[in-house]
């Protein structure tokens, strides 16, 4: 756990250094607004902190990453290209919305749909079976439906409502 994180931090910082040196100081002529940077940063999660999107992350490293986003945007890269760039260096794990490939395609897209379909199928078959059993084995109708409503039902159709009937029953009891 610990060594893993340490390794990650090193890789992340190296990557950051690489990114910063690879693009010469073009950032100065950038007229990219904070909002444009944040729009991209929102979808990228800080590679070293835990569960924090880059747009709200308060650490210095994240500020540097936001500058990197700004630089890339000012060079004319599209938001999607910036995201891809981050995914290439830090892995798909930094994207809030992982790209549809590999394991994430299977687990985040295919599996939920399959699970849901299988669930609906099993559930509906279970319900049908229940109902089939019930239909084939008719039972005596219990007290609830038979006597309670008829006892109070009179001519008022609303009284057929089971719990309105119950309320009235209670009232009669006092």
């Amino acid at each position: 756990m610990k060594t893993y994180r340490l390794r990650f931090v090193i890789v992340a910082i190296l990557g950051l250094a690489l990114g910063l040196t690879a693009v010469p100081a073009l950032a100065q002529d950038g007229v990219v607004s904070d909002d444009a940077v944040n729009a991209v940063a929102k979808d990228i999660y800080c590679p070293v902190c835990e569960n924090t999107p880059l747009d709200v992350c308060p650490t210095q490293a994240c500020a540097d990453w936001r500058d990197l986003i700004r630089t890339q945007l000012s060079e004319g890269k599209s938001p999607q290209e910036v995201r891809e760039y981050f995914a290439q260096i830090y892995g798909d794990g930094v994207l809030a919305n992982p790209p549809r490939r590999g394991l994430s395609l299977i687990v985040l897209w295919i599996l939920p749909v399959v699970l849901l379909l299988v669930g609906v199928l099993l559930f509906s078959r279970y319900l049908s079976d229940l109902r089939a059993q019930t239909a084939s084995a008719p039972r005596a109708v219990t007290v609830m439906t038979a006597s309670a409503p008829t006892a109070v039902a009179k001519s008022d159709p609303a009284a057929r409502d089971d719990y309105v009937a119950r309320v009235e029953q209670e009232l009669q009891k006092g």
Binding site: M1, R5, F8, S33, D34, D35, N38, D43, Y45, E50, N51, T52, P53, V56, P58, G91, D92, G93, V94, L95, A96, N97, P98, G102, L103, S104, V107, L108, L111, P112, L115, L116, G119, F123, L127, L130, R131, Q133, T134, R139, V141, M144, T145, A158, A159, D161, D162, Y163, V164, V167, E168, E170, L171
Partner: protein, 665 residues
């Protein structure tokens, strides 16, 4: 001295809990009730012992004995006294002790009740509950000892994690813990019913209120956690689908499914096995959630409680699974109830649809929460699932759930005709449509929001009609409207408390849709006197002041004048707080809250070298306050439903007698 005293009390509690399990087992086996009675007293005794241990730790925290490792870690001289007290749950070792205290409190209360005809369940309930307690006490006493000493006495402590100094954090963890430990009681009773082979619905009736209370605290914990995130974490939101948040959401989902499905068993005496399964599932998710939070197995912002207790927890989870599965298998014959379903359109079917939806949501949250682990196992790369993925997958399920919430109360037990449902739902559906047409005419073009608001309006109207129908029935008998309503609530607490909960959820849904879909934000660097517009608000940056706060705090506060439609309304003071000793920064927002929205400002950056300029981030969060208001209604409804009703006991006794009579027939 005090530390030794506290640790001794902790060890005694551990020994007493072991004794309770042994005595209960022996007494049951040898059929010696006195031993079971003694086990019961021992179980009750763990609570005062743990109160002494916790009291000792609080004393050490307040007096600042920094030779104690835990005290050194989480408190410091400069902290106000109330924070010294709450740092009892500000770190791993202390919060485990606190967890033990709460578990003992719940168990002791459950044991102190009159048992009467539940007597056969008692030894087993003691064994299960005390076994859980032994596990947590063992960790507290031997792995995460809160009384462990440092080899020397440092002059001052590190101080509490700044994130945990917020008032919201003072009550959020205890609520969540109470919710978590509370589910131990229904689980213990369910397992006791299995072990004693008494699978009528008595255990459900006995634990009904316990379940509701645990669920209430869990709900409170979730809502307060959201509020805390909104007030402290500085990102304009309240829920991030963080693994630790999900860890407490998952038992809530399973518990909610259970609270609904018990009604089928109570009414129709069917789906027994299903209810036992749901209780076991809820409890498993509680333990699993505790494991996630405390082992740091999935890293997240809440990982302040990481330690080496992971394997122990894992072992406990495995034992619990095997134990539960074993007894469910042994008693499978007795658990088979003749499940009947007369119609797909009936109250019992509606509860089953409800259960299906809750479990589907649970399954997806589970899958996504654990995805990082799968990913790391299979690809070696840490995967990540962000909020958009959750929202995309869950929004349709929640939407169907909300519709069901409105429609289900229209169904009747056994069967309902489609025509009847249609008749009851037609006008509310059209009325809700009018609301949407109005919104569309006012310029709303988001189809997601229109659909969402339609569902909320539809289900709200249906729920209000339920109240109206009940009240009207009483009014026809000559009661005045308010009396009729009050009597309706008083006589059917669970039902109408439940509908209040539904209304709370709908109000929250209204707020969530509003703020999720229509949130606006902007970030900009402003010179003194410059303005930025967001929605119909304008913010003018006036300046920054920097001053020391309590303890080692350095506060940097911006003054921002807020104009609404060009008229001055208020001055907001967003700020950053720097804990100089640890260097940890906090971004504390300042917001103008109205019924319609929050105008929420964060101070992102300010440097003394360029004193007359600052970077601000502004959010417009429409309808956000409806989320909190809905939470309030939700809690109120739960209180109504859970409030003890003396007539319940009478009804229960009468019902029991009836069952006995019918069995004798």
């Amino acid at each position: 001295m005090i530390a030794d005293f506290g640790y001794t009390a902790l060890l005694f509690a551990f020994a007493v809990a072991i004794y309770a399990v042994g005595a209960a087992w022996y007494g049951r086996r040898q059929n010696k009730p006195a031993w079971v009675e003694s086990a019961r007293n021992a179980t009750i005794l763990t609570f005062p012992l743990l109160a002494l241990a916790s009291g000792a730790l609080v004393y050490l925290l307040v007096t600042g004995d920094f030779s104690i490792n835990y005290v050194w870690q989480v408190s410091s001289r400069g902290m106000p006294t109330y924070l010294k007290v709450t740092s009892l749950w500000g770190g791993q070792a202390g919060s485990l002790l606190f967890w033990n205290l709460l578990l003992a409190a719940f168990t002791a209360t459950a044991m102190a009740r009159k048992w009467q005809e539940d007597k056969p369940l008692m030894p087993y309930a003691i064994i299960v509950a005390s076994f859980t307690q032994i596990f947590f006490l063992g960790i507290s006493a031997f792995v995460e000892n809160p009384f462990a000493r440092l080899p020397f006495t440092p002059p001052d402590g590190n101080g509490l994690n700044p994130l945990l100094r917020h008032p919201g954090m003072i009550i959020h963890p205890p609520m969540l813990y109470l919710g978590f430990v509370g589910f131990t009681i229904p689980y213990a009773f369910a397992m006791a019913a299995l072990m004693a082979n008494r699978l009528d619905d008595r255990w459900i009736q006995t634990t009904r209120r316990w379940t509701l209370v645990a669920w209430l605290f869990l709900s409170l914990g979730l809502i307060l956690g959201g509020r805390w995130a909104y007030d402290v974490l500085g990102w304009g939101g309240y829920w991030a689908w963080d693994p630790v948040e999900n860890a407490s959401l998952m038992p809530w989902l399973a518990g909610t499914a259970f609270l609904h499905s018990v009604m089928i068993q109570e009414k129709r005496n069917i789906f027994k096995r299903w209810n036992v399964f749901l209780v076991v599932l809820t409890y498993s998710l509680v333990i699993l959630g505790t494991f996630i939070v405390r082992s740091g197995v999935i890293s997240s912002v809440h990982s302040f409680a990481q330690s080496a207790i992971g394997p122990l927890f894992f072992g406990f989870i495995v034992i619990m699974f095997i134990f539960s599965a074993y007894w469910m298998t042994v008693r499978r014959e007795a658990l088979v109830s003749e499940n009947h379903l007369d119609s797909f359109l009936s109250r019992e079917a509606a509860f089953l649809y409800n259960n299906f939806l809750f479990l589907a949501i649970l399954a997806i949250v589970f899958l996504f929460t654990y995805y990082p682990i799968f990913s790391e196992l299979f690809t070696g790369e840490k995967g990540f699932v962000g909020p958009p993925v959750y929202e995309r997958a869950l929004a349709p399920l929640f939407a169907v759930l909300l519709v069901l919430m409105g429609v289900a109360p229209l169904t009747m037990w056994y069967r309902t005709t489609l025509k009847r449902l249609e008749l009851a739902a037609r006008w509310p559906a059209l009325a809700a449509l009018l609301v949407i047409v109005a919104l569309f005419a006012l310029g709303m073009r988001s189809w997601g929001a229109l659909l969402g608001f339609w569902i909320v309006a539809f289900s709200t109207i249906l729920t209000l009609i339920e109240f109206w129908k009940g009240t009207r029935a009483r009014m026809r008998k000559g009661e005045a409207p308010w009396t009729a309503y009050a009597n309706l609530m008083a006589r059917n607490r669970r039902r109408y408390g439940g509908y209040w909960i539904h209304l709370g959820v709908l109000v929250m849904a209204f707020g969530i849709i509003g703020t999720e879909i229509f949130q606006q934000e902007t970030q900009i660097r402003l010179q003194t006197g410059e303005r930025v517009a967001l929605g119909y608000y304008e913010a003018e940056f006036k300046g920054v002041s920097r001053f020391p706060g309590p303890d080692d705090l350095l506060i940097t506060e911006a003054q921002v004048d807020v104009y609404q439609n060009g008229r001055f309304v208020t001055t907001l003071t967003p700020r950053t707080e720097l804990y100089t000793r640890t260097g940890q920064p906090m971004t504390i927002p300042s917001a103008r809250s109205t019924v319609a929205e929050d105008f929420y400002i964060l101070l992102i950056n300010w440097e003394p070298t360029t004193a007359n300029a600052a970077t601000l981030r502004l959010y417009l969060n429409p309808l956000i306050n409806w989320v909190w208001a809905g939470g309030f209604v939700f809690v109120l409804g739960t209180l109504i439903a859970a409030w003890p009703d003396p007539r319940d006991e009478k009804v229960r006794v009468a019902r029991q007698e009836r069952l006995v009579v019918s069995a004798a027939d």
